[in-house]
Homo-oligomer: 410 residues x 4
Amino acid sequence: MSTEHAVRVPRTKEGRALLDLIEPHLARIRAEAREHDERSAFPVETFAAFAKDGLMGATVPAELGGLGVTRLHDVAAGLAAVAAADAATALAWHVQLSRGLTLTWEWRHGEPPVRRLAESLLRAMAGGEAAICGAVKDHPRSVTTLSRDAAGRWALSGRKMLVSMAPVATHFVVHAQTRVDGEPALTVVVLPRDTPGLAVLEDWNGLGMRASGTCDVAFGDCPVAEDAILSRRPVGGHNDAVLAGQTVSSVTMLGIYCGIAQEARDIAVGRFAAGSGEPPAAAATLLAEIEARLYAMRATAGAALTAAQDDGTGESDPAERGRRMMTPFQCAKMTVNQLSLGIVNDSVTIVGGAAYTATHPLARLVRDVRAGWFMQPYSYPDGVSYLTAQALQRRRDNDYVSARAVTDQT
Amino acid sequence: MSTEHAVRVPRTKEGRALLDLIEPHLARIRAEAREHDERSAFPVETFAAFAKDGLMGATVPAELGGLGVTRLHDVAAGLAAVAAADAATALAWHVQLSRGLTLTWEWRHGEPPVRRLAESLLRAMAGGEAAICGAVKDHPRSVTTLSRDAAGRWALSGRKMLVSMAPVATHFVVHAQTRVDGEPALTVVVLPRDTPGLAVLEDWNGLGMRASGTCDVAFGDCPVAEDAILSRRPVGGHNDAVLAGQTVSSVTMLGIYCGIAQEARDIAVGRFAAGSGEPPAAAATLLAEIEARLYAMRATAGAALTAAQDDGTGESDPAERGRRMMTPFQCAKMTVNQLSLGIVNDSVTIVGGAAYTATHPLARLVRDVRAGWFMQPYSYPDGVSYLTAQALQRRRDNDYVSARAVTDQT
Amino acid sequence: MSTEHAVRVPRTKEGRALLDLIEPHLARIRAEAREHDERSAFPVETFAAFAKDGLMGATVPAELGGLGVTRLHDVAAGLAAVAAADAATALAWHVQLSRGLTLTWEWRHGEPPVRRLAESLLRAMAGGEAAICGAVKDHPRSVTTLSRDAAGRWALSGRKMLVSMAPVATHFVVHAQTRVDGEPALTVVVLPRDTPGLAVLEDWNGLGMRASGTCDVAFGDCPVAEDAILSRRPVGGHNDAVLAGQTVSSVTMLGIYCGIAQEARDIAVGRFAAGSGEPPAAAATLLAEIEARLYAMRATAGAALTAAQDDGTGESDPAERGRRMMTPFQCAKMTVNQLSLGIVNDSVTIVGGAAYTATHPLARLVRDVRAGWFMQPYSYPDGVSYLTAQALQRRRDNDYVSARAVTDQT
Amino acid sequence: MSTEHAVRVPRTKEGRALLDLIEPHLARIRAEAREHDERSAFPVETFAAFAKDGLMGATVPAELGGLGVTRLHDVAAGLAAVAAADAATALAWHVQLSRGLTLTWEWRHGEPPVRRLAESLLRAMAGGEAAICGAVKDHPRSVTTLSRDAAGRWALSGRKMLVSMAPVATHFVVHAQTRVDGEPALTVVVLPRDTPGLAVLEDWNGLGMRASGTCDVAFGDCPVAEDAILSRRPVGGHNDAVLAGQTVSSVTMLGIYCGIAQEARDIAVGRFAAGSGEPPAAAATLLAEIEARLYAMRATAGAALTAAQDDGTGESDPAERGRRMMTPFQCAKMTVNQLSLGIVNDSVTIVGGAAYTATHPLARLVRDVRAGWFMQPYSYPDGVSYLTAQALQRRRDNDYVSARAVTDQT
């Protein structure tokens, strides 16, 4: 493949079908992007329409009624197409798509109770009935905790933040701290939205990605069923095997930033469309640099998406497999973040003062593109620490959820 | 001087007095910045308080009742102090301060009628009664034109954009195209706000600098008095003498971006205040880079401000003098724009996701800092073309107002 | 593929065989690199050994006795492996490898006389008897011209520069200006080294790539046989079809700069090998940035190599095919040049003053890496002009040899 | 002052006299630069001529027979002028100039024996009889030690590296580790070149700065007179007062890199001298960026030179004074290193392949400019650590000589 095609043209027939299904939605998503951004309003209608067309089950296996898009590259291509129209919509949709991928893994490789749970969720996603958010990051003033009450029932309390797609969520997959035999552990549980004590706080007011419905979710003694536990692992386990799932969960987001950069580039090129005169020297130079950097970011994202693709046969050492997937992802993430920021900035320079109004598409891209640096699993400083340790082969707890939990306890 | 002092510590006693007068206003300006930004609301009360304290006449000569701050460096230092609290307020205030500087030049060097006009305006500024905006940039769909009506009276029609401080303006200094003996010319006229046919369109909705009151102003057959003409020059005159005034008008804005960068740096450093742990390697490296770049941008701005200071004895060739002032300004502007953007961006990286909410001070700085690239006289591409021509000693019409007028006519 | 493999691990069995054949030579190439660099001496023994092992016919089809490495990616992987040991050796070897690729095209698609010529040259390359240089760039004071003498025989006169691998060359493929029916044309002819009037001037004294044998070659009325003409095209033909061959000729050189960057990175990482303490913050940050950029440059080079691969069925419009191959190449070249320069520079920073001695491997890499910016077909300014024109869909003569010839004639 | 003048035009009459004295030497220095560089040969004749003209005593007070150039800015201006002709000559000359400055401090503020020693050395420098090198950095395999022999006499043993100007040195000022009352200390002693056991190893073979005579110096039980001790301080003293002298010793070197960048810029501009056509877009853009960055680096260097100027009245806390001088220097050094490297690199891009021959002036600048990153007192990683600690007000041993001695002892 040429990177003309990287993160743009899907590679599987399922991927092509996905793009075909998305296409009719794009004009409306684009047309409404400005207003959703201004009002920080979640595009509820788009997600209803996505559900109707099966797009909320795009990554669910065909056996379970989904579209069966399992190629990460093709998921990223779908996200890039939506992101060029509205990045916030793509960011929210990504939550559902990546959940489909990780639940599929649980369905194929988990213990029987986990497989049953995963299957029922996946079927509901495919049917357009389930929209499932992840809730990982604790609010700074609250550690989310799972504990048994006097009657021995599990109950969840705490507060999570940065839960995207929350306005239409039907379920939340929540990371919580707990104790197993006295030792601190991380447990992942699934809560339906109507769980008593659960509240979605629609308070998102971001610099960008304002239509992504990125909310806080509060839990007050929420009852948790025994069969709602998805996984459990010790805190401080130094277990690099988890990097595989963390990579799959987030790597397709690279497509979002490719979509943003593509849109910025198209606007910049449009400034000098046929008949509008020759660009001054600096604009001509920036245009060429934009072309080269867009190519490089797509090629790099494409390579990381391929590296993260895994047939799941699990032959190799799971920790090594985790690092083998995460390292390319982090290299690509750093590259994509820097290049997309530069492309958007230079596009603004080319377009000039007109781009400096709040309602100009580039002004939205300026704000949206900056989100990439805060995406899971690693911020820029954490990504640097991870890559340095890998280069120097130093041992380190690379599980960011576990590492934060250790900090909470000290 | 060390640049510890550059663009921070004033160099004259008038400059020190200015800083002392500003100081009591800063806490309130800072406290209200967020709300003004959200509502895109002009800080009317601040400007009323400024007028009361003589700050609207800071650059008016003492003989005419002003504070007599004539050192460009000290004007920039005042703007930097205000900009650290709220950049948009500083941007609007700059309009008045630079008008004081250029009108003082007219008062000292102009023909008698111009001197009379300048004096009356300067006295009104010093008294807090006049707030005078510049209106240079034509709306894309309108060329502002001054012509004689059937009765031989001057009338102005057209539409200007990007007129900062307009909500509280009492006068507008307007560039208009006209004809003198059949040849195209640029005329600069002064219009009181209550001129029939003049309308301030409070429609500003910028990506940043949202409290700067940067409006469109429309003129519909506005009558212009004969004694309201400030200057006149031919279109396409290749007259580099005008670069002197254009430099003085804009060079102190460098202080605004120094203030923005300082504020971003302070927030980033605050992230690792005593007791909050050691920064990870990447954050430590970025902090040092921020320190170095903040120093460099202040030193460079300081040098350009000094180069633009001119005792007005006018010994040298006026065209050469114009270039001698403009070239350092453009070098510094390019440097300040790039470095301040980088400092704000790296500060966001250091602070992390918390900075990605619309109401975080850094999120405002991200949007405000980008304005620097669109400030008069040259955008980045125009600045590049100017500097290249200077380096290669190529002849070129460097008067941006004239160059645009030529384009309008072709 | 993951880019762990990009431009490192070959993709075909012929490519793997190539790497296996190279392997035994690498230790000696690396050991002698310093001395060859100091003396600006061509590694004659290495090329004799390469010839013996069939490496001088690596890209010759198996039917003609070669190794049949036709995958551009695998050619680049071979060059990267050699370049990590000595970049200058790789640069000289590239001349032969790319000639094999382009002659194979002529052999498959040319007119019968051209096919015969190509076949005999390819067979000699495979047998280790022919080392064939390209001679494209005229000396600034000489236009190389092919004309008929009084007796109607072709004769070549002029002077070429930057002819790499010349010390061991057996043939030269020379671009010359000529006239066909009075119209200026470019003709490509093949001259054996022992042609009367041909002189190799072993005068190379480069900043870097000093062992590459990059010489001037002078032609004084050299007789040219009728059947030694490889191709002919009009000057100023605006023929983008030639971009295909120009891409294939040069795109595998990207592997050389990947090899240089890899070597620099390995030295930098080695500075903090186990037991040598933790890196200071700035070194840790630079190491992570190096990892990310090395990944990005490999991924980008890999994508361009794939885009340049062409099955030669020639279905599409040849001009469009030329651009489709050249555009990714230029995007990748710009990226690879910038990233490799940065990686080498940051590696020097990490290693410290020890790297600032002439004989330190990094000091050689500092000099070698800069060559990338001057490689055919486009310099950085020409590459920018090409990419801008493509982005804006502006028509332009993209054939750099023709464009220079037009300049010569004006 | 405008930075048109920064680090170019001297500010005192002594500075102007210095520039006038240098002027007649520049043509020859420039003419011989290439050959000295090729042969790594020290410009002995230049230094003889400098001595004759009093230039080896430029910074010696007039009372002691010197030229009395005490303004750091003017010293840097002199170095910049020489560096534009040949940076290596400037680097070697800097050794003498900075010694004049620091010895003057000892002469004014030291204890009587130190004052006598300083005076005699300064008079000899002024008379052209003394050329005094500093020897600070130990060879990696040798700690230079001062100890008493059985007879109670001081003897020095060890090996220093990176001693510039050594080929013509008459004295060496050597940092040595010793013990005072059992505690480790750093002692600085002065040794005449003809001291028994002292050997200058003329082995310098740098990547750049090849004519600077930067040698190793070996000491084998060299006798040291009691009155040859210049200073003594404890190891690990956390004494920021020493930063003042370390700043003065090195800050004027910023002028050298300004001279290098100026020369590169002049060559790049010369490429498009009148009559040679318009630059392509990328070259035009790079030219403007070069102008802006050259301005910024000069302004920043100029500010740091002013900050480091100190009237020596010593009112303030000496540790605070040390940091107040060092911090601007480090900010400026980081800026100057990055900008000068970029300017040279972009100049090469503008000039094109012609600059890639070993004997092209730009090829020398490519190698010379990289030295800036290794100049005392801090490398880039150490400079980052210093600035981060300052920004966060963290305590740290900033005395690089002491910090290394601590490392040696652990």
